[in-house]
Symmetry: C2
Subunit: 449 residues, 2 copies
C-alpha cells in the first residue's frame, strides 16, 4: 500500500536527517494520515516530526493523536508551543483533551488559558457525558440580521478560518437568542446587497445542551444537516455540533449497543488498544450474572428429574428447545432495540409491536414446529407423542419468547433502564427458563408421566 | 408536541379550504417535516397539499416521501409536473426512485428524460448494490485549475443551487481526470485574484465506483469529510458522495449487522412498515438452520446417556454451561465483527486477536470458575468432585469459546463470507456443542463413570 511506502520514506528521511526535504513533504499531507503515522512510530521520532509541522497543521494533527501521544507531546514542548495549541484547538477537541489528561497535564494546559476561557472550560466540563453540551463547540459564524450579504461574506472571509464550520451561519440578536440560520450556499448564490434578515431561514431546528447525543444523531440523519445549533435553557445559542463529530457519535452508540446486547459493559475504547484486564473486566460482570441466573434453568431441569428418568430421551431435545427459544427472543428484541435507538420505534408503539410479534411468532412457530415434527416422526422415527410434545413446545415457546423479546425493551425504556442492557443479555436466559417450563409441563400432560 | 399541532392546523385549513393561507404556511416549512406529514395523511389530501408547494420545495419533499406515496403522486400529476420533478431531482434520488418503482411507473418517468439521461441512468442502475457507484450523485461543482477565485465563485453563484453540494468543488482536466479539490471555505477566505491551481489541494482521497459503501463510510468517518469524489477505472471523476447519504449508509450497515448477528436475514425496510410475512420470512431461515444444528448438542447429550443416568445431577448444570459458553463466545465475536465493520480490526490482526482473546479468556475463565466453585461447594454443598468438574469445564469452555468467537469472524472474512452472518448466529451453537463435549469427557475422567 502507498501508506506503508509513505511511512518508510518518511522514516528514511528522518534517519538520514534530511529535514528540509521532510518538512516539504509533511506540510502537504492530510492531517488524519499524519496523525496515523505519528501514532504508530516511536515517541521520540513522533515528537521530532510533530515539531516540523507548520503551526496550523500541527494543531489539526494534534487533535487526531492518541491520548498517550498527546500527553508525551505536551510534556516536551515549550510553553509557547503549548499556548499556540491551546489557543488554536477547537473548543470541543480541547474539552475532550482535558477530560482525558491526568491532573498535572490539565494544569499545564489551563496555565496557558486566560480566566474567561477557564470559566467556559469549567462550564463545558460540567455537561453530562453523552449530552449535546458535551460534544458541541463554540467556534461558529455569528451574523446579525441587518447585515448585507456582502458584509456577511466579508465577515466570513476575516474569521472563517478559525471556525469549526462556515457552511451554516447563525443569526443572533443582542441577547444571543437565535433568530435564524443561513447557509453559505445561500450567501454565495444571493446578490451582495440583499439583507440577511430577508433571506435567512427562521424555522430553525435546534437541540438543548442537555439532550442526549443519540437524539442529536437521529436529527442529523433525518434532516441531513451539516451542523445543528445547541441552545441553553434560556434559548440562547451556546454552541454548535458538526456532522463529523456526529458520525463518531453514531458509530460509538452503535458499538455500545452491540456490546450491551452481547452482554458486555459498554466501552468506547478500541479493541486492539484496550488492555487484557480492561476487556476482561468489561465481560466478567454480565457473564457472572448470566451464569448464576442460568441456574434457574438448571433447577427447572432438576425439578423435572422424575420426567427425565422416566424418559431419558427427552433430555436430548433440551438444547434445541433452549436455543430456538433464545434465538427467537433475541431476533425480536434486537429489532425493537435497534428501532428504539434509531427513533423508528417509540414508547407509543407498544401495542403495535406486541400485535406484530404475536402474528410473526405464530407463523414462525408453525413453520418450525411443522419441519421439526416431520423430521422427528418420519426421519428420526421417534414416537408420535414425543414428536408432538416437542413440536407443540416449540410453537408455544416461540410465541412467548417473541412477545417477551419484542416488549421487554419497551418495558425497560419505560422504567428508564437501557433497553439494550436490559433486554439484550437477559432475553436468552428468560427464554431458556420459559421453554423448559413449558416443555416439562407438556411432557407430563401428553406423556402422562 | 408542536408537530401534532402543526398537522392539526394544516388539516383544519384543508377542511375549511383556506388554500391561500395554507400555501403561505407550507412554503416556509422544512422539506423533511413536510414529507413526514404527507406520508402520514390520506393519499388524496397528500396529493392536494403536494400540488400546493412551490416547485423547488415540491421536488425536495418528493425525494423524502415513501415509495407508496411517490407512486400515488406520479400516477396523478401531469406529464409537465412529472418532467419538472425528473429534471430537478438529484441524480442519486432519481436512481433510488427508479429502483423501487414498478415497470409502468419507470416507463412514465423515463419518457420525461432525454436519451443522454437515459443512457446515464442505465449506467448507474448497473452499479452493484451497496457500491459507491450506487449511492453517488452527479451534481457536483466542476472547476478548472486556471480559473481565478472570482471566476470560481461566479460559477458557483450561477450553478450552485442545482448542485448536491457546493462546499467541496472538484478541479478536473479536459478528460475529466481529477486534479484537485478546493473547499468553498478556502474560496471565500482567499483573495479574488488567486488562481485555483495555486490554492487547491492535490492530495485528494477518493474511492472507486465499485468500492463497498461500508469502506466509503469508514473513510468519511476517519477524515470527517463532507463529500468524497468517486472515480471510474480510468480515474475519471464520475460522481460524488455526500455526508448526508453516508449517515444513512452507516445506520443501515449497523442495522444489518445487528440483524445478522441475531440470526436474521438483513433487511433495510423499517420494522413497523414491514409486513408480518416479510418479517417472518427473514427470521425462519436461520431459526431452522440453528434448530437443526442444535440437534448436534442433543445427540452429544444422548451419547452421554450412561453418564447422565449414573449421575442425574449432572443434567442440571447443562443450561449454565451452554449459556456461559454461548455468551463468552458471542462477546468475543461481537467485538471482532464490529471492529471489522468499522475498519479497526483487519485481516492481518489474526494473531493479535487470538493472543488477546486467549489471555482474556484465561482471566475470565478463572474468575467464573472460582465463583462457581465457591457457590457449588460451600453454598449448594455439592460433592467436591462435581464442583471441580463443573468449574474445570467452565475454564476450558470459556477459553475455547472465546478463541473461536474471536477468530471465526476473521476466518469467515478470509473466505469472503460475511463475518456477521457466519460468526454471529453460529457461535452459540458451536460453543454449546463444545461445552457439552468437554463436560462429558471431564465427567468420565474425574468421576470415573
Amino acid at each position: 500500500m502507498d501508506k506503508e511506502k509513505e511511512l518508510e520514506m518518511i522514516l528514511d528521511l528522518v534517519a538520514s536527517k534530511k529535514y528540509v526535504e521532510l518538512k516539504e513533504i509533511l506540510k502537504d499531507m492530510n492531517e488524519v494520515d499524519l496523525a496515523d503515522i505519528l501514532n504508530e512510530i516511536e515517541a521520540q521520532t513522533a515528537v521530532l516530526l510533530f515539531r516540523m509541522l507548520p503551526k496550523g497543521l500541527a494543531v489539526d494533527v494534534f487533535a487526531h493523536l492518541t491520548i498517550e501521544r498527546q500527553k508525551e507531546i505536551i510534556n516536551v514542548i515549550t510553553d509557547k508551543e503549548l499556548k499556540y495549541i491551546v489557543e488554536e484547538l477547537y473548543f470541543d477537541d480541547m474539552i475532550d483533551l482535558l477530560e482525558e489528561m491526568p491532573a498535572n497535564v490539565v494544569n499545564k494546559i489551563l496555565l496557558q488559558s486566560n480566566k474567561d476561557e477557564r470559566d467556559l472550560i469549567n462550564q463545558f466540563l460540567k455537561y453530562p457525558e453523552d449530552s449535546a453540551g458535551s460534544i458541541m463547540t463554540i467556534e461558529y459564524v455569528d451574523l446579525k440580521k441587518k447585515m448585507t450579504v456582502k458584509e456577511a461574506l466579508q465577515h466570513i472571509k476575516e474569521t472563517g478560518l478559525t471556525k469549526e464550520t462556515v457552511y451554516t451561519c447563525y443569526v443572533t440578536d443582542e441577547n444571543r437568542k437565535l433568530e435564524g440560520i443561513i447557509s453559505l450556499r445561500k450567501l454565495v448564490t444571493s446578490d451582495l446587497d440583499q439583507i440577511i434578515e430577508d433571506i435567512m431561514e427562521r424555522d430553525v431546528i435546534y437541540v438543548n445542551t442537555h439532550d442526549d447525543q443519540e437524539t442529536v444523531a437521529n436529527i442529523f440523519r433525518k434532516y441531513g444537516f451539516l451542523a445543528l445549533p445547541v441552545v441553553d435553557n434560556e434559548n440562547r445559542l451556546t454552541g454548535i455540533i458538526t456532522v463529523d463529530d456526529i458520525m463518531d457519535v453514531m458509530e460509538q452508540e452503535a458499538t455500545e449497543d452491540f456490546q450491551k446486547m452481547a452482554a458486555m459493559a459498554p466501552s468506547d475504547e478500541a479493541y486492539l488498544e484496550s488492555s487484557v484486564f480492561e476487556l476482561a473486566r468489561h465481560r466478567i460482570f454480565w457473564l457472572l450474572i448470566l451464569m448464576v441466573s442460568a441456574t434457574i434453568s438448571g433447577s427447572i431441569i432438576s425439578g423435572a428429574e422424575e420426567v427425565l428418568t422416566a424418559m431419558i430421551v427427552l433430555n436430548s431435545f433440551i438444547p434445541m428447545l433452549m436455543d430456538t427459544a433464545g434465538n427467537s427472543g433475541s431476533q425480536s428484541s434486537t429489532l425493537v432495540i435497534r428501532g428504539l435507538a434509531t427513533g423508528e420505534i417509540e414508547m407509543g408503539d407498544f401495542l403495535k409491536v406486541l400485535w406484530k410479534e404475536f402474528r410473526i411468532s405464530i407463523v414462525v412457530g408453525i413453520v418450525l414446529a411443522f419441519v421439526n415434527f416431520l423430521r422427528l416422526y418420519y426421519l428420526v422415527k421417534i414416537d408420535f407423542n414425543i414428536a408432538l410434545l416437542v413440536s407443540l413446545t416449540l410453537i408455544v415457546t416461540i410465541v412467548i419468547s417473541k412477545l417477551l423479546g419484542g416488549t421487554l425493551p419497551l418495558v425497560a425504556k419505560k422504567f428508564k433502564i437501557d433497553p439494550a442492557i436490559m433486554a439484550g443479555p437477559l432475553i436468552t436466559t428468560i427464554a431458556d427458563a420459559t421453554s423448559l417450563t413449558i416443555y416439562f409441563y407438556f411432557a407430563k400432560l401428553i406423556l402422562h408421566i
